[in-house]
Assembly symmetry: D4
Homo-oligomer: 224 residues x 8
């Protein structure tokens, strides 16, 4: 299931012992398990059972990966993840971890924003050289960044609105609406849905990688 | 009343003959009358009574100015009006006409947008050379432009959301919310409120112009 | 600009003569012009000037393509377009025309829905055999179909909510919200945004097609 | 009052001692009492007074039934309760407990969902064999399941939206709206209103059971 | 398909000739066709082709039934339809026609409301004597009536909010929300969804009728 | 200031010591002070300083009255306060305390509701005999009661929506909207605004009482 | 039924001939009929049947009164009606006509507003001298006026929000919300609900008038 | 960067140690640092590191300024800050601190409101004598005050809605909407956005101050 979406354990409303149990079954079956939206107590319970060596905890993404030492398979897909400000990093990181777990190489660009827009152009140039198959752009408050990025690249951009901002349009609402109203070519996921954004971008990137690989094989076969 | 807001006849829900009557009284009293949101039938009725010579009709702004030949007084205030797309021009023009009627020199920059963002920088440079006291930025759909402009200038920017865009956040809602959530320093008026945006910008520009003039006079007096 | 988004003339708030004029310039420059959201009077005006031979009018998509006889370039990209009911066809067709104009082969499956869900599976099987790079799924009312399709394929699915349905959640609102809440991996565009859905899907499909072609060329070069 | 709705004590905003007191009166009068939305402290207080033998606590449904040993009367009504995911179980269980307390046999099918849609069909077949008079279908996030179930059965389906999901349409809003927009024949209750869903389904099931019983009696009488 | 929901042609967004065509096919196949939300021009077109004898037009319900003379099959189901005011009658009548077409006897009580609440009680008494299997209650503005009716009967009540009322909560919104918040046991359909309300009530009534008939048959068989 | 609205100290966002200080000043000036929305810590602080004898705490209304022993002046105004359920009592009590403090005799009827509608009529009869000048009716969830009461009396009814109910229309929203949509003659205050409801009803009742008194005086004078 | 609310024929969704028919019955029974929300065609139809002499048409209020020459009974109640701008007059007039038809003397003050706030104080002084029992204050856009009036008088004020204003908060929404949030003691009716506002104010005014009259009678009786 | 907006550290979602670290860097670079939305634990951490002498904590504004003893530069700009009630002071103070830190003299008028409207006029007279370049007006609940102030002065008014008020329109919503609907010339910022309001007002005031200074310099130069 090379391009398929990774199955994850959404820890949010589950008791630590339930998460541990589901993870144990999953690791047995698939050698890896991914837990998302993990709180401190989930992490602690997982740590106790699996030990810190077989466990990769990303505190900003709130994800835990459990594995048996075998590295995740690589697809050759490449996913860029851009975010505007510090508050957008958790959602961006969740997207990045999922894309990585789905086999993609990920490239994070976390220090650009509408304020630092002059820094965006050179960073995008560097990103383009790596040939990403898709780019996730996380943005809160007024959610401008995905529109701008999509106007500057040919790569499919996934807009990821982040629940920042107070008052009218706060909590990610203005960000979501402006991405839906964007003049650039843009598709969006729900507010804070880093999981969906990462999985969607990986789906695209993996198909592109696979297309290249298939052609290679095809021609190799034709050459014979 | 040099910096005061111009009084206007909002034609929207008034019968043509009522607008004509109010305008007649106003011209008598103040030598000028400004009609906003004028439909074809309002314009026709005004034309019949005042004649085309004493009447300036701006079809995009939907405004009519009636006067007795005397030009509007000049304050020395300078107001910039920027808009992103064709659909934003009516609101932008309404703002521009009001600012002009309040004595300001107005500078319109109507052909920039997020799509044509590379054209924005040089246009802003030219605008800065004219020392505007305030800049109205009209934008519909996702309403990005005011945020970007305010991040590039020191001048107070008045965000004017425009009722374009369909679907979620359409009709100016996303534009209004993203201006309220803007990371730049921005104040906003209601959707399509060109009148308020123009009057507010003129208020600022006229105060700046007056400040300069007063100092001049003060010093002239001190010199004596 | 092989994978770039096609430029289109949004006829919606433009006078017929303006649309004709812009189209004339565009055809001169690029040999083709695409007009979207064209009303009867726009079509009539375009017909009069360009003649029916150089004009492809899609009355359901409300699009007009004007060309000089040269066929649109082909990219090798493949885009599937699925819709649930009759009322969803205009949005679906708009997406299809845009994807086609961006060089993609398009495959329309318009007769499946939640009611006729038993017909969906065999149709999807047939679609998969054509190796689409992306699938647009248009759905109104409760907007279920994209969720179901995305659960059955590995291809990136673009959810296109359609403004059908009356009462609470009508006008595409329930459709948009359920796509954003979807348990499947899904990205969405705004309500009735057939243009964006088509362009986004074509962007993905064209990248996949290009990836295959590049590999081919690469290897050809390495072989030398 | 065979088909009547059971009276219940909504513990939510009541002090433990008040709930105990009301329950005591109710048990005296009717031999049974049903407490809903009971917190840990309510349960503890009830336990202390009534003892664990006369008390049935359903921690997922958050209900407590107090009785004097006499089993609840049986009506012959049959109610199915289906839910899509783990998060939907509390609402589903509340519905099931109420239907049971109103005299119905209840059949829970809790492990199907849009993801596991292939498992839905055989489960529905089994459910049909038990001749349910009504089926409650609980679903959160995008709320698809009731639409699909109602398209596959002749039995009245009660849609029960559940307050899951974050971001736009979260907290059960998208689920409620898509049930209201459903193309299938569906009636709905409010978000998390497991009590109403269960009572409504039991009302239907009890009328069907009674209709059968009456006919039986009628004919028995006519035979005499 | 005795208790199944009748298939209907939703005329709303269809051209008269399309409706005629679909109706022709349907009559051929099933001897009857039901058209809903029919405008004057739909009715006229249907009249021309089928003639007035084989056509039952209900102008308030906006429905047309076409048949070949054979009366609709009768199930024995009984459905009550109550409405509060004149403005609620179209939605109520749509529900009544659908229930009738699904084989039910229908009993309309259209002249009661919160104002005339003293008239409600005797009308409900009369209705109960007819043993309805379900009652549709249509109500606009503040939507009180379904709550009151459901508090007075044991029969399942389907709340049908109607799009009357201006200002805040107008267009059926307050009615829908108060039915969802109702203290009585109530299930609801969307605003103006007379079709769904009627079909849902008929589903219930037909199951009750069938239950009685089955028992009859069963016993008849046992007696042999 | 006989009919004027009483001044109150809104304790909600104030520190206990600030409330004590403001109360001290107010008692000195006017011999009485009214504190609303008082928490346990506010009450404790007030108790410590003023002693329990000069302090009337209403825990359900969350009000504290401090006085120097002198009873509040009486106006002769009479205000009825009706509520539907237990959850509505705090808002109803706040209204009652304020009306009482404004000099009115108050009559509370707290045990009627749509469920117990048969008990409403005799209670209203008793209330009418006391000649209330205005009636506050508090109701949450679907907010029916004020509509029904106002349909049965000639006295001005003040609808007081209460923030009960979960899901769509919860938190008092459905109650507010249905009161605004009411078919009866009804004026409303905001959700949980017991203070405003009580003060408004007292204003009316005091004017009626004063009208009677004035006539009396007038005639007494004319007789002389 | 001296203080009771007048029964009116809401012409809005009724055919002219139906309105004529209902009016005929009503005039026969009660010697007077009141038609509200009457369009030109309603007025024409009524004029034709009843003749212009027995008909009082108020084109701004959109009301028609039909009578047999007998003047409406007078109660002695006095109602003030204040409005802020020209656009608020239709709603204000509707309120005024209803109050008058319910027996009250009405006093209209239509030329004050927040702009002309200096004119408000003297107008209020004059109004107070007439001893109004209640004051309706109609206001659109930001809806400030009722708050200010209620802060300056002891008389109960009925806030009547008017559907003016475009953009966010337009159509009367901001006006309604600010009246509900008002710091003054204020009760409100729905947007444009002139009928309810007038009837509510008349109810109050009539009770006050009656209170005076009763006292008079009482004392007269005691004197005997 | 005399008129530029001050850079501030938004402490809201940052750990105390992170705020300390960022502040240290900022003080080193620019000799001053401004922290906004600082909680007790932020203040404590800053105090420990910088000492109380170099730290100005404004508990109501929730701001901390850290400096090396050098006073903030003065621009000559003057900003007025008006608020209606006690609850509006935190937002107003935040605005005032920011304007001050941007070099402006600030004048706070915190004890006026719609209730105390008679006190507003003399306070505004005093404020005008100080020649403010802009006035921030903070108001919660129904948000009337900015409208009234802007109707009485020529100076640009920045409306600052405050998140007070419960029920419909609460949390600053009614305040925001009525400022957007205001009949006076007004620009607004988001709910509780004291930072933006203060920075925007300072921008205006500083431009006015600079205009005066420039003229002075110009003339001084011309005189030479
Ligand atoms: N952070 C997340 N956000 C959204 N969906 C998630 C997330 N993590 C896991 N999922 C999906 O939610 C489902 C897991 O739900 P559950 O069975 O409750 O653990 C799977 O379909 C996952 O792919
Ligand atoms: N286009 C406009 N948008 C908003 N307000 C306007 C407009 N034109 C005029 N006004 C203002 O509306 C008021 C005129 O209202 P009226 O007295 O009804 O003509 C004055 O305060 C004008 O300054
Ligand atoms: N008035 C109506 N309201 C809602 N659904 C309807 C109505 N009339 C027909 N339908 C349903 O809508 C579908 C017909 O849609 P269509 O294929 O577009 O004619 C069928 O599933 C009908 O059962
Ligand atoms: N519970 C309450 N609800 C609404 N307004 C109140 C309440 N209690 C006091 N008030 C009013 O709020 C204002 C007191 O505000 P403050 O000066 O902040 O204490 C006065 O105008 C009171 O009449
Ligand atoms: Mg952003
Ligand atoms: Mg824009
Ligand atoms: Mg669908
Ligand atoms: Mg679901
Ligand atoms: Mg009703
Ligand atoms: Mg109620
Ligand atoms: Mg107003
Ligand atoms: Mg205020």
């Amino acid at each position: 299931n090379r391009t398929g979406v990774v199955e994850a354990i959404l820890a949010d409303c589950k008791e630590p012992e339930d998460v541990v149990e589901i993870a144990r079954v999953m690791v047995e079956k698939s050698k890896r398990a991914l837990v998302t939206r993990a709180s401190a107590s989930h992490v602690e319970a997982l740590m106790k059972v699996f030990g810190s060596e077989k466990l990769e905890w990303n505190s900003r993404a709130r994800t835990v990966i459990i594995h048996d030492g075998t590295p995740a398979p690589r697809t050759g897909g490449v996913v860029g993840v851009i975010s505007a400000g510090t508050a957008d990093i958790p959602a961006a990181e969740e997207a990045r971890v999922i894309a990585s777990e789905m086999g993609c190489e990920t490239i994070a660009v976390y220090d650009v924003g509408v304020a630092g827009i002059h820094r965006l152009i050179p960073e995008l140039q560097k990103l383009k050289l790596r040939n990403p198959g898709a780019i996730v752009v996380a943005a809160g408050r007024e959610g401008t960044l995905p529109t701008i990025v999509s106007g500057l690249v040919d790569v499919p951009v996934v807009g990821l609105p982040v629940s920042t901002g107070y008052g009218a349009g706060g909590g990610g609402k203005a960000a979501l609406l402006s991405m839906l109203q964007s003049c650039s070519t843009l598709a969006v996921v729900n507010i804070d849905a880093g999981f969906v954004a990462g999985a969607y971008a990986a789906r695209i990137a993996n198909m592109i990688a696979a297309a290249g690989a298939e052609k290679k094989t095809e021609e190799a076969e034709q050459e014979d």
